[in-house]
Amino acid sequence: MIRLIQNEFYKTFRLKKLYIFMAILAVHAWLTVHFYNAGGEWKSVILMPNGQSLPLTLLNSMAQFMTVFIPIYVADLITGEVKTGTLKMSLLRPVQRIEWLNAKIVSLFVFMTVLLVFSIAAECAIGTLAFGWGEQTLYAGSLYTQTEGVWLTLRLSFSMLLPYMACGMIVMFIAVSATNISTTIGLSIGVLTATQYLNAFEQLKPYSIVNQMYFFHEYVYQINGEAAAQNIAVIAGYIAVFYLVSAIIIKRKDFIL
């Protein structure tokens, strides 16, 4: 299992896609800063222009990229391997199918973590270059000292891995069921886009995974026991259900490559 995961890491870091996604995130941060500086502050999301506040300011917008990056990555990771037959490199070896799937999930988690860490680092760097590091961190109308700000940034940013992972598991279910890469990407983006419409119904809002991808950090920030537990339960439910279904599909699937 560990060796399978090592292989997945090796392949992930050799993929150009990862670096293209990083570049897109960096360009997005740079453009946000650029438009603010160019006199667009009246319609910018930036309320406190400094390096330490920028990652939290842009945390919402990360979701819109992840709803595209995750399907592209997972399509390559799962459907691509089935379609091109490279899956056989693992399955014709002493590797159980479930181990293969688990290694893919770990790989997806690492992919999302790398992008998240990179985006925090890039946004800090770009914000600092443009405005300086700053004295305080602004988040949700409150000001924090530098140390508190860094801790808050890390806590809220990394909490986002939970909804991202749930999104990844939904896409993984689609990927193990689909027969080609474009179907996986198209269907995943379509499903994720459609779930945004759940936001229109106040009662269903917490069950919309896209809503969680945008706003989970706000729920974590408010940290009111019951509400937080409800959101975490919804996300955990998504992860558990879609993992289970994907595992069953993979176990039963006939690979006609």
Partner: protein, 307 residues
Amino acid sequence: MGNKILLEVRGLTKTFGSRTVVDRLNLRIEEGDIYGFLGTNGSGKTTTIRMITGLVHPDAGEVRIGGFHLKSQFKAAISLVGAIVENPAFYTYLSAYDNLKLTANLLPWVTRKRIDEVLEIAGLSDRAKDKVGTYSLGMKQRLGIAGALLNRPKLIILDEPTNGLDPQGMKGIKELIAQLAAEQGISFLISSHLLHEVEQICTKAGVIRKGKLIAEGEVRQLLASGEETVEIVTSEPDKAEQLLRSASEVISVSRSQDQLIVRTNGDCSFKLNQLLMTSGVHIRTISRRPRTLEQFFFDITEGGGEP
């Protein structure tokens, strides 16, 4: 030939929808065998191989490799096998060496030195650092065999190993198989529709048709059995033809000038010679045409479909 059973398939059955692709198939490969698995397109060869390697789940039947049950002892069973199913697949953005390194990483007992060894065996040492995307089909097949050799398998399963290769590439793969069988004692299960090729390198063969194994045995025994073709050149073809057509062993006679091609239902060239001689027919030459696997295949499949 050794007699230890390496691969045993019993009652293997697979149905897709209402179509039974493999039907209660039994197969046995012993140590030292180079087994040619023959069949027309769509006869169930690749589905059988996919079931033997665990890529497709059988509806019924069992597969044992080296005595290990594929379903319940998958890791132990598959560790004895090296396989190329359908086409060898690699990460084209990685080098041959890196691809093998990924495979070797899943086999804890395989060393880095072994990667160099298999690249050398496959004749790819010079191009080991090149990306697989730049490889020709023949080179990819060779790399596939290199990958299959990594774990020092007892049995190598090759599904259409010369598909799409030019004559030189085919020759290279055949030589490599013969060399590995002779020098390393590896057994092979080779599915192919190229009968001449199988005849050249295989010691045993099985013919599958509509998912059923319809013939199996040592290649030389298969070729020795059944019909025989005799070629006769005579100065009296009319008389000879008349006589031959009346013989009970003769199935058909075709004629081209003074040459007669006689299909018989057994080893009876001697009898035909006697028949013609006692009737005073002057025979210039009489010879048995060696039976080819292609003939055998067409005979038993009643010429059904392309091999």
